[in-house]
Structures are given as structure tokens and as C-alpha cells.
């Protein structure tokens, strides 16, 4: 399935515009990857190829950067990305039970995307909102003090 950018633009011209706007200095690579990831939901091979041509940076470097950072993905993701914090403070606050409930409800393992492409379930390290742990982030919505019982209802908010 060809990936399309909003407004009907194709991936290559979208990438080209980004590089024109932000410049082709290597220091712009990560901010540009952020934008591509935001727009497409992930960083496709085509985007990497176009970036390499425009910024004169080897594809291997771009790929190695894109796979290094947690907020960037080189794999397509579901419509909604669920991030579950698995660090110690959330764990001690009852995170383990919430994780079990989340897995049961979605039928997904760590890192998996559901067959209908609705959900991607990923775990993450501390998100800096431990004061209200256990914490789940769905897309950009932060949910704190989550209990295992609340999980099904939380998921109902998304379609």
C-alpha cells in the first residue's frame, strides 16, 4: 500500500519540502525524522532514500539514527499507539497488574500491532509523570493512577 501524506502530497515531495524548509545540515536530521514520523506514523524506506539524496547522508546512517531513538519508528504502527511505562516507580505503584490487564484486553505482546491496525502496544521507560503512576499514554493523552479495572474503559475512548 503506498503511503500518502496529508494533502495528497507524495512522500518524496513531502520530504523534499521539509529539507528545503529546515536545511540540509546534519544537525537537522533528527528534527526532520521527527516530522516524518509524525506525518506518516513511521519512517518509510522511501522517506529514508529521499532524505539521503537531499541531505547527502548515507542511508545506513539515517537508518541507524532512526532505529536508535524510541520516538522514531521504521515499522508502520497502528492508528493508536499505547505506551506503557515499565520503570520501577510505576511498577511499585501497581504497574505490573495494569500491564497484565492491558495485554489481556488487547491480546497483544510487547511491540505488537493488532491485525486490524488499530493498536500498537509498546513499553517505555519512565515518562516523567511518575507522581501519578502507574501511567499509560495513548497517542498524546496521559492517564495516571490507572487501575487494572479501568483499562477496558480507557480503550473505549478510541476508535
Amino acid at each position: 500500500m503506498p503511503v500518502e501524506v496529508k494533502g495528497g502530497q507524495d512522500v518524496r515531495s513531502f520530504v523534499r519540502t521539509l529539507v528545503e524548509e529546515q536545511g540540509s545540515e546534519k544537525a537537522e536530521l533528527i528534527p526532520i525524522l521527527h516530522e516524518i514520523n509524525h506525518e506518516l506514523g513511521y519512517i518509510s524506506d522511501e522517506a529514508i532514500q529521499e532524505l539521503s539524496d537531499r541531505m547527502h547522508i548515507p542511508t545506513s546512517h539515517i537508518f541507524s539514527v532512526a532505529t536508535f531513538y524510541r520516538m522514531l519508528s521504521t515499522e508502520p504502527r497502528g492508528r493508536h499507539v499505547i505506551q506503557f511505562c515499565e520503570s520501577a516507580p510505576c511498577h511499585v505503584a501497581g504497574g505490573r497488574q495494569v500491564w497484565q490487564s492491558l495485554q489481556k484486553e488487547l491480546g497483544l505482546e510487547k511491540g505488537e500491532t493488532s491485525a486490524d491496525e488499530k493498536w500498537t502496544l509498546i513499553t517505555t521507560s519512565c515518562l516523567g509523570v511518575c507522581g501519578i503512576g502507574p501511567v499509560i499514554i495513548i497517542d498524546h493523552d496521559i492517564y495516571g493512577n490507572v487501575t487494572p479495572e479501568q483499562v477496558p474503559n480507557l480503550l473505549k475512548n478510541y476508535d
Partner: protein
């Protein structure tokens, strides 16, 4: 400008927003205008006062009255009774103690928490972070003016040196000395970086400063830049901190519009340009050389040191890297003088420290107190004791790379030197308090899982050591651990420390070392008796069912 008589704050965290905080905010503005009070009463949004079930909250200063949960329909009555007639609406009022410590600053609370002393968080929760005028009204940009007009770069460095300020990013390095190194380094072009990557589990103090008082960081970076001879800077903010990035961006634009950032500041020949770089999610990028690699557009892999960033940092130029909390001390030191600062805290660690309190206690949240108070004081006074009256078992200080400390160290003063003398580290100031329901093997498993995941993979001791330690802990937790595993854990803890290239690997072994030193019997019970005394590990489940 007319005198402000009262300030009204609406909780603006995500949960409150979902529950209509914005509508309440709009209704307040409308009603205040209807009563002609808009000039003397300000309304703004604050974060991190989220109290589930009672949000959105409305806080009225200086009375320190909190209302919750407030609907737009409640607003006319609240405005007429409280803000117009001065009568507190008792039926909507809630106790500040319900707020589990997240509340920024309330006079009522200050009275019961005598030792809380705010320097770093002076403005947080009190001023509108999106309004530069509000910052200026609270002494903002005064320290910068003082430095540029009355002090030479050398004076400035000497003042910071004399204050005894030590870095709050984890290592406690003397800040003035670091400034002096960068000032003394050769090179026309120099940089200043604010390390706002903050990804240490349990730590969110820097986020609150960035969200609540962004101008204080800009001002401090400029003072640092003037002192070391830099004219360009970066704030490296963790990518997930969207609100902090937004507030900082806005603050930079406002400062530029006022001529407080840019060329020839205050008519002097000092110029400064500030950029934001959003992180893309990697704990290791908090390590200063990895952070620099990341700004340059690379994988965040630490460089070998030396050379240190003070001589060869960003694009190989001398670079000053300071943590957010470190910087948040600077303006107060300049305004009030080094002697004032030195009088707070302990002799070798002056000033205050911000702690985030988490875990099995009654009140979790954030405090700023003078250096040198003890863990016992924190738990009993600020955290209001252990939850459900359970017993204190251990605390982890300083996030995942900090130390696991047993009850016997509860009375050690929390300052850099007392802690390092006791063989433990203060780190970022996160305090995770655990009761007896927490199993040390399970805790260590979670911590090593973190390091296994966050290792940048560049050097073998760390990449392999963390993975292997995690696997061994999993075996122990599942009841198939052997005595050899115990020896292996000890060896891996030591080798991680000795052979790793950077601080991540070097500290990854500390949870292992600490549980073996302080809780060895509990680990041995898993191996020899196949029992998890806390009843947490998978094998303990099997055991219980067998007995049934």
C-alpha cells in the same frame, strides 16, 4: 499596571483538561469581567495539581483556598461569594492535604512543612509561565542585568564558585569550577547547553521547572554564557515533554521580542542566541557527550572522555553543559550573593535539593528542602509516613542509576558527601520508598530490564553485562537460580562498574551490588529455599498453590 489583589489558578493537567478545565477557565474570565475584577484578579492555568476525582481544581491565592471539582456552573457563585464578597465557599472547598504533595505551593501547607525552602521552585505554580511580564514582576531578568552591568565574567564565575553550588544532574561536580574550565578553554566559538533530557526513572523535577518557570532557565543560561564567553546555546529537552517544549519556545519568543535575547542585550556588546532541540527518546542522551552527539545528528552514543566537553564539546568547541535544576539556582545566587546561598544546606553541599517522593508512602510528590535532611525526615514529615502503616524496607535514591539503601541508612544526611561516605549516591533526587511487599529480586529485575533496554550498545561490558544480569535475575525469580548465579551477579556488578565506557554501564551494576550487600539473605532464599519471602516472584505463586 494596577495592583494584583488575588490570583486564581485552574489545574491544567491532562486529566483536568479532559474534565472541562478549559471551560472553567473561560467561565472564570467571563465572570471576573462581569464583576469588573479583571484588572485586579488574574486567572491562569497550572500543571501537576491533578487530584483524581476532584479535578478540575480552582486555587485562590493568597488565601490558599482550593475548590474541587469545579464545573462552569459553579463559577458564578464562586466569583460572587469569594472573589467579590470575600467569603470562602465552604461546600466546594477541599483540604490541601488531599493534594498528595503535587501542589506547587500553598501557604497553608508551608506552615505544616517547616523546612521546605524554595529557591529552584520559587516561581513554579505562582507565576504564569506563559507571560514574561509576570516573570519580570517576580525579579525576573534582574540578575542578568546585574551581571551585564556590574560584573565582569571573572566576577560572575567567582560568585558561583564562592556559592559552593554543585551540579544537580547527578554527579555533583562544582558548577563554578566547570564554568571556569570553559572560560579558560581556547576557542573563539563556545556553546552553552541546558541538559533537560531528564529520563531518570522517578525524576520529574526538571520538567516542573521548565513548565512552571521557563524564563529562569533562559536567564541562567545567559549568565553562564556571559561568564564563559559563549553566544549561542541549546536547550536539549526530552521529546516527550511536549508542554515543556511549548512553554520554552514561547518564553524564547517573548524574550526575543523584549530584546532580552538576541544582539546587544541591555545595550552591552553581549549577544546570545538560543535554540531548542527536542530529544527523540533515549535515556542515554542525558549523558552529556551522548547529548552532544545527538544534537549533531547522530546516534546518542557517548564519546570517550577525555577530552571533556569543557574543552571539546559541541562541534568540538568548548561547551558548558548544565542540568536544569543547577541552572535554576543561578539567578538567586547572583541576586542575593554567594554568602546568602552558602548559609543554606550543609557546608560541602550548600543550597536546597528538589526531591521527588514516590512509592509506598501516604503523600507522593515533590519537595524542595535544604541539603542535609535525612530520609527518615522526608518519609515521616513530607510523605506523611508509610502507606497503611507498613514498614519501611528500602529506598532507591536517584532513579535507576542510584542506590538501593536499607533502613539502617535512614538517618544519613542527604548531601553529596555524607552519601558518598556511606557508599551510596544521591543522583537526581528521586526517592522511591518501598515497603516489605516489595521483593528485591523483582525490583532488581525491573531495573536491569531498564538498563538492558537503554544501553546504547557501543561497548560490550554494558551491552552484554546488562542483558546477562537480567536473565540471571529472571532465573532466580522463577526459582531456577543456582549458587553460581549469586557469584555471577557479584562479578557482573563489579565488571559493569570497572569496564564500561560511560556512566550508564558504570552505575547499572549498583542495584545488584546493593541487594547483594544489604539483602543477600532474601536473594539466597530465592535460590536455596525456592521461596520469595515477599510473595512477588512467579515461583512464589507456584509454591503457595502447592501448599493449598
Amino acid at each position: 499596571m494596577k495592583a494584583i489583589r488575588s490570583m486564581v489558578l485552574v489545574s491544567g493537567d491532562q486529566v483536568s483538561l479532559n474534565h472541562g478545565a478549559l471551560e472553567v477557565f473561560n467561565a472564570l474570565q467571563q465572570q471576573l469581567a462581569a464583576f469588573g475584577l479583571e484588572e485586579e484578579i488574574t486567572v491562569s492555568m497550572v500543571n501537576d495539581v491533578n487530584k483524581p476525582g476532584l479535578d478540575p481544581l480552582v486555587l485562590v491565592y493568597p488565601d490558599a483556598v482550593i475548590y474541587g471539582s469545579v464545573t462552569p456552573e459553579d463559577v458564578p457563585h464562586l466569583v460572587e461569594e469569594h472573589l467579590y464578597k470575600g467569603r470562602v465557599v465552604a461546600e466546594k472547598q477541599i483540604s490541601p492535604y488531599d493534594l498528595t504533595g503535587r501542589i506547587a505551593w500553598l501557604s497553608a501547607r508551608k506552615g505544616t512543612l517547616p523546612a521546605e525552602h524554595r529557591i529552584v521552585l520559587k516561581n513554579v505554580g505562582l507565576i504564569d509561565p506563559e507571560n514574561i511580564d509576570d516573570y519580570i514582576l517576580h525579579d525576573g531578568y534582574e540578575a542578568l542585568a546585574k551581571v551585564l552591568r556590574e560584573m565582569t565574567p571573572e566576577d560572575t564565575i567567582n560568585e558561583i564558585k564562592a556559592s559552593g553550588l554543585r551540579g544537580r544532574g547527578g554527579a555533583g561536580f562544582p558548577t563554578g569550577l566547570k564554568w571556569q574550565f570553559v572560560a579558560g578553554a581556547k576557542g573563539e566559538k563556545k556553546y552553552v547547553i541546558c541538559n533537560a533530557d531528564e529520563s531518570e526513572p522517578g525524576t520529574f523535577k526538571d520538567r516542573l521547572v521548565l513548565e512552571g518557570d521557563p524564563h529562569s532557565i533562559i536567564e541562567a543560561m545567559m549568565i553562564g554564557a556571559y561568564a564563559v564567553g559563549a553566544n549561542e546555546g541549546f536547550v536539549y529537552i526530552r521529546g516527550e515533554y511536549r508542554l515543556a517544549i511549548h512553554r520554552m519556545q514561547k518564553a524564547i519568543e517573548q524574550a526575543e521580542a523584549y530584546g532580552l535575547l538576541g544582539d546587544n542585550i541591555f545595550g552591552t556588546d553581549f549577544s546570545f542566541k538560543l535554540h531548542i532541540h527536542a530529544g527523540a527518546g533515549a535515556y542515554i542522551c542525558g549523558e552529556e557527550t551522548a547529548l552532544i552527539e545527538s544534537i549533531e545528528g547522530n546516534r546518542g552514543e557517548p564519546r570517550p572522555r577525555p577530552p571533556y566537553p569543557t574543552t571539546a564539546g559541541l562541534w568540538q568547541k568548548p561547551t558548558l553543559v548544565n542540568n536544569v535544576e543547577t541552572l535554576a539556582n543561578i539567578t538567586a545566587i547572583i541576586r542575593n550573593g554567594a554568602a546568602w546561598y552558602k548559609a543554606i544546606g550543609t557546608t560541602s553541599s550548600p543550597g536546597t535539593k528538589v526531591y521527588t517522593i514516590l512509592g509506598n508512602v501516604n503523600v507522593t510528590g515533590l519537595i524542595e528542602v535544604p541539603m542535609g535532611i535525612t530520609l527518615r525526615e522526608v518519609v515521616s514529615i513530607y510523605a506523611k509516613g508509610m502507606k497503611d502503616g507498613a514498614n519501611f524496607k528500602l529506598a532507591q535514591t536517584g532513579g535507576s542509576s542510584g542506590s538501593i539503601i536499607p533502613a539502617s541508612l535512614q538517618d544519613t544526611p542527604m548531601d553529596f558527601d555524607s552519601f558518598s561516605k556511606a557508599g551510596v549516591s544521591l543522583g537526581s533526587g528521586a526517592l522511591l520508598i518501598c515497603n516489605e511487599d516489595v521483593c528485591v529480586v523483582d525490583l532488581a529485575k525491573v531495573l536491569l530490564n531498564f538498563f538492558r533496554f537503554e544501553s546504547c550498545g557501543k561497548c560490550n561490558p554494558c551491552r552484554i553485562g546488562n542483558r546477562r544480569s537480567y536473565e540471571v535475575l529472571c532465573n532466580i525469580a522463577e526459582g531456577v537460580g543456582t549458587e553460581q548465579d549469586l557469584k555471577d551477579l557479584q562479578m557482573m556488578a563489579d565488571q559493569l562498574y570497572q569496564l564500561s565506557n560511560c556512566g550508564l554501564g558504570q552505575t547499572a551494576g549498583s542495584p545488584l551490588r546493593d541487594i547483594l550487600a544489604h539483602f543477600r539473605a532474601e536473594v539466597e532464599a530465592h535460590i536455596k529455599l525456592k521461596v520469595c519471602p515477599a510473595g512477588v516472584c512467579p515461583m512464589s505463586g507456584h509454591r503457595v498453590y502447592q501448599i493449598d
